[in-house]
């Protein structure tokens, strides 16, 4: 039943009027290894002067707000974090999982398909205000809410 629900959700999201038409949207899913910070959320557009430096092998995706998701041993971090940003600011969601999983950003129809051990990133610029949930699809956990004002 859950499978069917997920398929349905995916089908619905394909129909979203603004799916994929976010202005200035950057290239969809690019693999780039970014280790998760302890909180999983880096940068608050109102506070952070610039992207935080992370020890990584390749350049950190430059974005106003970064959400780093880790899925390890069945635990998902962050756990329902609130991430605030303004319309027009860029957001990068990176995810690293130890199992096959996918992470979905509602309303903007972004999905990160994860293969174990391979960090994946999606960057986009939200152009609609509201609260949008970032969720794991297999386990249906709420990772974070993007609060776009």
């Amino acid at each position: 039943m859950t499978n069917r629900l997920r398929r349905g959700a995916a089908a619905l999201l394909l129909l979203l009027p603004f799916a994929g038409c976010a202005a200035g949207e950057s290239a969809g899913q690019t693999a780039s290894p970014v280790p998760a910070s302890p909180t999983g959320v880096n940068g608050n557009a109102r506070q952070s002067p610039g992207p935080k430096s992370l020890p990584s092998r390749s350049p950190t995706p430059a974005a106003d707000v970064t959400v780093a998701v880790t899925i390890a041993a069945g635990r998902v971090t962050p756990n329902a974090a609130n991430v605030r940003l303004r319309r027009g600011q860029s957001v990068a969601v990176t995810a690293l999982s130890d199992v096959a999983e996918s992470v979905h950003i509602h309303g903007y129809d972004k999905t990160l398909t994860l293969t174990p051990g391979k960090p994946t990133t999606v960057r986009f610029i939200p152009d609609q205000s509201g609260v949008f949930e970032i969720e794991t699809h297999e386990t249906g956990k709420l990772v974070a809410k993007l609060i776009v004002s």
Partner: protein, 450 residues
Amino acid sequence: MIAAFTVVNPQVGALMPLHGIGGRQDLPLPFELVVAGAAAAVVASFVVLALAWKRPGPARPGLPLGEGFTRIIDSAALRWTVRGLGLAVAAFMMMALLLGEDRLTNPIFGFVYVWVWVGLVPLSLLLGPIWRTLNPLRTLHLLGCRLLGTNPDHAASQLPAWAGRWPAAIGLFTFVWLELVAPDRVTIPILLLWLALYTVILLFGAVLFGQGWFSAAAPFETYALTIAKLSPWGRNVGGQIELRSPLANLATLTPPPGMVVFVSVLIGSTGYDGFSNSSLWVRSIQSSALPGIVLGTLGLLGFIAVVLGSYTGACLLAGRLTDTSRRALPGLFLHSLVPIALGYITAHYLTLLILEGQRVFINVSDPLSRGWNLFGTAERGVDASIVNYPGLIGSIQAGAIVTGHVLGVILAHNRALALFPRRAALTGQLPLLLAMVGYTVAALLLLFAE
């Protein structure tokens, strides 16, 4: 992972199109709006207490619309047209439910959770008690009775007087549980199970108790008729249709047993809906060892219990302070909770109705997912321009809560003056007034919570 997969998960709800587009929810209220709303509610309450300090005069009579108008409204032709409409829409949606695919583009989900559950509110506000005629199960029962030549009012067994609206209150609880707690609530099997039980209980009950059973047990009808009391449509003693002030109309509400619980379920579940979306609650559920369904059920029951307990407690305390008979007071003041409920509902469901309501119009064109375009709407998109006016949305939400509060306070004030002895009327109003301020502040805080 596999184990976690099978765990009942409250967040499945986030996958459904229930809170805005594909999981979009309204922005939290800005704190200034919360403070301004709460202050306005408190000030307005004391203005009503202090300035409106006079005996209410005799209720202003309604404006009769004439026998001709009443005859048209009551005509068999119009009644059967409306019944036919209700039956046709229901039949169409049952086709989508039974033959359509189990995916979110099936219009049945939006029909039940948005058009019926939310849409019956504006419909009843505009057109009054139309739901009784639209109710397809009532129509089916009526047709069955016509066919068999029996009297639809005939009851093989008498429903005891104390039953009142208790069956509807229980039915409403099962629906809000389905909407807010049940796992997989936007899948065909779960929705079908609920609707099948609902249909069977209502139709069998009607056979047993006559069509009065629909009044006692149909939750949507009881809900719609309660909201219809805030419409300008009423009937005078002679049965003629008249135009009334909505508040005067609401004051004619005479709640049967069980109605206090019914309204508490309505308000409590709307509050829980806001609370259950907060990250705080989701975080605690996700890190709890208890299954989400248990915590969700307890949370929902808790919210309902708080509303029921605070309201009943305030009424009993008022009775004690004024030396009036206490048992009847919760029923006598219940109408004053209806605008508060309406404020909650508006604040929570307005954007859902606007955005997801449109999606049902799109999805009805292809109910069986076969690429049809029955009504020419299949290719349309949802007009989501409203989402980029968050200030407007927030103001409407806070405004609805505060307006509901002010109307509730006025209604309670007038009822207190009519019921309580003059010397104690002021103190007698305080408990309920404080409870109402509490509901309003709580509602604003729930909209503020992220």
